[in-house]
């Protein structure tokens, strides 16, 4: 019987597992330590720990940083590149720029390339910028090159990327078909298949990274599949992509680069679901964990995608949520730098962790400061699963901060928060300004283990009227994965200026694309599904390098499409032009809606510690210690309302409310925090 939906998010420290029981409408969540030496083992262990019959789980959704880590740690496979002859160095040359963080490093050390130069082969054949064939593909050279690269198993994956394949992918499609057929043991990735956008280096980079992590992800998902199936699971298996969609494992294996940001995307998918269900159209979501803060905007119920995505300086042309990673988390290290107090971006992470963990960490961190100010409870941290020691926190703060500055420990701890909150809020303001927005037009949604601790302080600093804390904030990303829909995308190039004539051709292109992608999705799923379809057109003013994605409807005229693009340009850049625009490509997104859990407090099985009590915390509103109520979240009934200072504990986090804030518990168990005049 199809009773349960199960999701797992693997982060740096913990495996977060969430199970929803649709029959009893009950949510169960737990955390396990990660198993870095064998990541799949941790997932299987979590499935084993479930107290329900595994064969009654109808859907499993997974988010993992495995692909991302393989890139960051250079643990992917040996990749070869096949491109046009004469252009073998495109990947190596790149765009020639340094990142802003390195801009004054005139002694810059370039790391060795992810693809060795000897593993690149150019073959004859050329398409021009209008998609016309200038020289035919040299199939013999292709065959010979691939054989050389694959010889003795040297290259286990090949990235194929030809110039102007965004305009005409005939050569690339033909090459990929031949390679699949004649080199069955080698993984193949194609730039044009992954991204129908121009800019040859960026497309090649996308294909290279896809090829680089393909064997890793394939092996991992195979192990996870085998493991949970041996426990009796026979439902749908999904992996999150980087823009909040769910892919079947097969689809994820075929296109692994689309999953690189699958972990943080779960939180945004959850935030989007939240936005739609609560009617809050603009949400600023902040996911704060041990090492960093991930911020993302939802504007008018649409999550924002990143303009030019990059992983470790490699561009990736894939839809990825615009998630800004800021160096602020529970593990952020505080230090004195001559006359200044600095906090982060260095983090003690999970190992060695904050000083108070007693795992060898000696540096003073935000968590240590929180403990000194009464925000965390040393007797019952993480529902008792982790022991923390106040004396270790005190020692670290005294040594690192109090002594060099000659200040007391409370002042040091409070100062750490003030610095952290000020710099984090500044970064958030900057991110909003890029889109011409004001923080006060947003609802703040805070989650992650440190979201309830830092969220209220960030709310105060940014003067955001409302902050929401969802149920089970510490596993919200895993929960959000349950809110994702099965998603399949495909695209085709168009390359026409917007005109009455071209709109007719666009309509027939959209019909062809819809038919082709539907057939492909049905083939991949092996079922006669009827998905929702949504078209996006990539459009730019003629002469511009970058495109904007706007909705395309089959009922569009050239006027309505141009107007929509022009409005979107005005919104994004503050101005627009009355000049010809061109459509570069058309993409389709097919979605199959999944069954999702409701947001509700009553459906959470709880175990969140001791009874209500009084404790003393530092109230940021007055800057002084104040007696405050400490409650368990499970005991707060809908309709409950109180003014800070107060603490609300749940199993994985503590919400810290200050004297100029007020909380109220909503019908669905969500806690709303507002700012009040004192």
């Amino acid at each position: 019987m199809a009773k349960y939906k199960f999701s797992i998010d693997i982060g740096g420290t913990f495996i977060d597992a969430v199970l929803f029981d649709f029959t009893n409408e009950e949510l169960v969540a737990f955390k396990l330590p990660t198993t870095p030496e064998d990541p799949a083992a941790g997932v299987i262990a979590a499935a084993e720990r479930l107290n329900v019959p595994v064969d009654e789980i109808f859907e499993f959704v997974h988010g993992t940083t495995l692909g991302l880590n393989a890139i960051l740690e250079r643990k992917g496979t040996t990749v070869g590149i096949i491109t046009n002859s004469g252009f073998e160095d495109i990947f190596e040359i790149g765009r020639g720029n340094l990142n802003f963080t390195d801009m004054y490093r005139f002694d810059y050390e370039q790391s060795r390339k992810i693809v060795e130069r000897r593993h690149v082969r150019g073959v004859g054949g050329r398409i021009d910028s209008w998609g016309r064939e200038v020289a035919p593909l040299d199939v013999e050279a292709l065959r010979r090159s691939a054989a050389e690269l694959a010889r003795d198993g040297e290259c286990k994956a090949l990235a194929v990327s030809f110039l102007h394949s965004y305009a005409n992918d005939a050569h690339e499609v033909r090459a990929v078909e031949l390679l699949h057929r004649e080199f069955p043991g080698v993984e193949i990735s194609s730039g044009a298949a992954l991204a129908r956008e121009y800019r040859e280096y960026e497309r090649t980079s996308t294909a290279v990274l896809d090829a680089y992590i393909k064997p890793v992800l394939k092996n991992y998902l195979g192990r996870v599949s085998g493991g949970i199936e041996s426990l009796g699971f026979n439902g749908n298996k999904y992996i999150m992509n980087s823009s909040g969609g769910a892919l079947t494992f097969d689809m994820g294996e075929a296109n692994p680069v689309s999953t690189v940001m699958s972990g943080p995307a779960g939180g945004v998918a959850g935030a989007l679901y939240f936005a739609k269900h609560t009617g809050k159209k603009n949400i600023l979501s902040i996911d704060i964990g041990g090492t960093s803060l991930d911020a993302c905007l939802i504007i008018d119920f649409e999550p924002t995608d990143v303009f030019e995505a990059e992983i470790d300086n490699f561009p990736i042309l894939q839809p990825i949520f615009d998630i800004r990673n800021l160096g602020a988390g529970g593990g952020s290290i505080a230090r004195v730098d001559h006359k200044l107090l600095r906090v982060g971006p260095q983090s003690a992470g999970a190992v060695p962790g904050p000083a108070c963990y007693g795992r060898g960490g000696k540096s003073a961190t935000v968590t240590d400061a929180a403990l000194m100010l009464g925000y965390l409870d040393s007797s019952d941290f993480m529902s008792g699963e982790l022991k923390i020691a106040k004396d270790l926190a005190l020692a670290a703060l005294s040594e690192d901060i109090c002594k060099p500055l000659s200040i007391g420990v409370d002042e040091a701890a409070k100062s750490i928060f003030e610095v952290l909150v000020s710099q984090t809020s500044s970064s958030i303001k900057e991110m909003l300004l890029e889109r011409g927005r004001d923080p006060r037009d947003f609802t703040l949604l805070a989650f992650g283990g440190c979201g309830p601790l830092l969220g209220p302080m960030i709310q105060r600093e940014l003067e955001i009227p409302e902050l929401l804390i969802p149920p089970l904030p510490s596993v919200f990303s895993a929960w959000g994965m349950m809110a994702s829909d099965l998603s399949f995308s495909d695209s085709t190039s168009v390359l026409e200026s917007i005109s009455e004539d071209s709109l007719a051709r666009l309509r027939s292109a959209s019909e062809n694309l819809a038919a082709k992608s539907l057939a492909e999705l049905r083939r991949r799923i092996g079922a006669d599904v009827a998905p929702n379809a949504k078209f996006l057109a990539r459009i730019r003013f003629i002469g511009q390098e970058h495109t904007l994605s706007v909705d395309y409807f089959e009922t569009d005229t050239h006027e309505t499409l141009f107007r929509r693009f022009s409005d979107s340009h005005l919104d994004r850049f503050g101005h627009t032009f009355d000049e010809p625009a061109e459509i570069v490509s058309l993409s389709i997104r097919l979605t199959i809606v999944t069954r999702k859990p409701a947001i509700s407090r009553d459906r959470i099985r709880r175990d969140d510690g001791d009874a209500p009590a009084k404790s003393e915390i530092l109230d940021m509103a007055t800057g002084a210690l104040a007696e405050s109520l400490r409650s368990r979240r499970s005991e707060l009934q809908p309709g409950f309302s109180a003014k800070g200072p107060m603490l609300v504990k749940d199993e994985g986090s503590t919400l810290v409310i200050h004297g100029d804030q007020q909380i109220s518990v909503e019908e669905n168990g969500v806690i709303s925090v507002s700012l009040v005049e004192r």
């Binding site: 004469g86 252009f87 073998e88 160095d89 190596e92 040359i93 765009r95 020639g96 720029n97 340094l98 990142n99 390195d102 801009m103 004054y104 490093r105 005139f106 002694d107 810059y108 050390e109 370039q110 060795e116 130069r117 000897r118 021009d128 910028s129 200038v134 110039l163 121009y198 800019r199 040859e200 004195v336 001559h338 006359k339 200044l340 107090l341 600095r342 500055l405 200040i407 002042e411 409070k414 100062s415 750490i416 003030e418 610095v419 000020s422 710099q423 500044s426 970064s427 303001k429 900057e430 300004l433 890029e434 889109r435 011409g436 003629i542 002469g543 511009q544 850049f573 503050g574 800057g623």
Partner: protein, 541 residues
């Protein structure tokens, strides 16, 4: 209570964020790609004395670029006539620190009362301000061929645009819509900055904020002096040659004398030639900026700048010298600054072991202008080509990066160039063996072969094509110099540096960029590195 250390860090962070918010506003709303893609702008916040508190540089060498201009304005203007809401515009090269296309807008901020407390500055490259040629000017002989000049005048008075003045600007530009758009973006950036600055003063109180600024400047000065302690004391010199001034063929001598004392670092450019006829003269403000940028690498590459970081720096060049252009000399081409950029490195590298060897030493790019064969419209495209960077005593130089003074700029994709202009590439490759040899070798330069598909004017832009780089301790310069070969293989084949050529369909050019220089004895190179280079053909012999 909050500790002073936290308060200083917060105030510093908020000013920096204010500059950053100004930057994002400018980039978001600017019309022209030179601003939002090439990041050809500089943004800064200064106190009433014109001391920089925080900045957001677009291009690497635009660090502190507004300081000289602001200080000139403070001297030249009657500040008592400025009112809240005013915006002053300056593009007079000798007062500013760049050529006439760089429009500096300055807004005074009055926190309370009648006195100016803060100055905000945004400079940005305008596409056309009425110079003799559209696009780039490469052969002007005096300032009046380089654009309409605004010598620090109020274009906005108490919040209201001076329509008369604006009409003059518009009628003197070939692209009035673009300059209106970019002007609007700059003003929006200033207004964003003003709001942020007011918030800081409100939050911390005026006296307290001003005290904090003082302490932050002192702290930065301390940081620089700490770094200077590790440098040897004495005087060292270096020379470099600029190809020519674009009018005659004569090479131009550039020289620097670096003197490091106990708490002073002096860069004296007076050993250089005097001003020349062509547009390669450098406004003194630009000389200061160029020097600050290399000084930053030497002393504080990882921290955001304020005035204090440069208190120990002194830059000298007498009026009339190449590095202190005066009226009416031509200053349009900023290449001199690039070719001269590593002179300080050249002077100090023999005595400071971690300074890198020379890079390719130039920004050897090109532009193409013409009528598009397919769309019929006019096009202007440009590409900044990567060069090899110099090795250090610890590692090889990087391959194919932009010139260090423009390290965040990107090259233009082939697919963009071919779509927007009558160009068809036949090759883009690293030049094997172009890295100077050494225990650590220099990075490789780039070769680009292009065929013209319909009549197009090609402008090769190089100012260091006649001389090579330098390595130390046995390291060699790159065997390749920056240059372009026009009509290769034909009888009229021509090797050029700076050159404008009209080319027809089927004709070709090959652009070459130099590699970086090596460090140390090539015989000492590790076996593994030698084999890696051979295997991957960075080195073929």
């Amino acid at each position: 209570m909050t500790s002073r250390a936290a308060e200083l860090e917060i105030v510093s962070g908020l000013f920096l964020s204010a500059a950053e918010q100004m930057r994002r506003t400018l980039v978001r709303t600017a019309f022209n790609a030179v601003i939002y893609e090439v990041l050809d702008f500089g943004i800064s916040i200064a106190d009433r004395q014109g001391r920089m508190i925080a900045e957001a540089a677009g291009i690497t060498s635009f660090i502190g670029a507004n300081d000289y201009a602001l200080n000139t304005l403070i001297r030249k203007l009657d500040l008592s006539t400025l009112r809240p809401g005013d915006v002053v515009m300056l593009n007079y090269p000798y007062w500013n620190s760049a050529h006439a296309s760089d429009a500096l807008l300055m807004a005074p901020v009055f926190i309370d009362g009648d006195d100016i407390d803060i100055f905000l500055c945004v400079r940005a490259h305008w596409l056309d301000i009425g110079a003799k040629d559209s696009g780039y000017v490469i052969d002007s002989c005096d300032i009046h061929q380089e654009g309409l000049i605004l010598p620090g005048v109020r274009v906005i008075k108490e919040g209201k645009l001076d329509e008369d003045l604006w009409k003059i600007l518009e009628f003197n530009s070939r692209l009035p819509e673009a300059i209106r758009g970019d002007f609007g973006a700059q003003v929006a950036s200033l207004r964003t900055g003003e709001k942020c600055v007011r918030d800081i003063f409100r939050k911390f109180g005026k006296a307290n904020t001003l005290d904090a600024i003082e302490e932050l400047i002192d702290n930065a000065d301390w940081e620089t002096r700490q770094a200077l302690k590790d440098f040897p004391k004495g005087s060292w010199t270096a020379e470099e040659w600029l190809d020519d001034d674009g009018i005659s063929d004569e090479m131009i001598k550039m020289a620097v004398k670096v003197t490091i004392g106990d708490d002073k670092f002096t860069a004296d450019f007076n050993g250089s030639d005097s001003m020349v006829k062509g547009p390669v003269n450098v406004p003194f403000g630009a000389t200061v900026t160029m020097t600050k940028t290399y000084f930053k690498f030497l002393t504080s590459p990882n921290s955001p700048s304020n005035h204090g970081h440069y208190r120990a720096l002194e830059v000298k060049a007498d009026p009339g010298k190449l590095f202190h252009a005066i009226y009416p000399s031509a200053t349009y081409m900023p290449w001199t600054k690039m070719v001269a950029f590593e002179m300080i490195a050249k002077a100090l590298a023999p005595v400071v072991d971690w300074i890198p060897m020379s890079s390719g030493g130039d920004e050897p790019g090109f532009m193409a202008v013409g009528r598009h064969a397919r769309t019929g419209g006019t096009f202007v495209v440009s590409n900044n080509e990567g060069i090899g960077w110099g090795a250090t005593h610890k590692h090889d130089g990087a391959n194919a990066l932009q010139h260090p003074s423009t390290s965040t700029v990107r090259n233009t994709p082939i697919e963009v160039l071919e779509r927007q202009a009558n160009l068809f590439h036949e090759e883009l490759a690293l030049i094997n063996d172009s890295g100077g040899t050494g225990k650590f070798r220099g990075g490789l330069g780039v070769r680009r072969q292009v065929r013209i598909t319909s009549e197009t004017e090609v402008i090769s832009m190089k100012k260091k094509s006649k001389t090579g780089g330098w390595g130390l301790k046995g390291g060699k310069p790159s065997p390749v110099k920056n240059h372009m070969v026009l009509w290769p293989g034909e009888e009229r084949e021509k090797k050029v540096g700076l050159y404008r050529a009209r080319m027809q369909a089927g004709e070709r050019f090959i652009n070459h960029s130099a590699g970086g220089a090596g460090w140390g004895d090539p015989g000492q190179r590790e076996k593994e590195a030698v084999e890696y280079d051979l295997r991957n053909r960075y080195v073929t012999r």
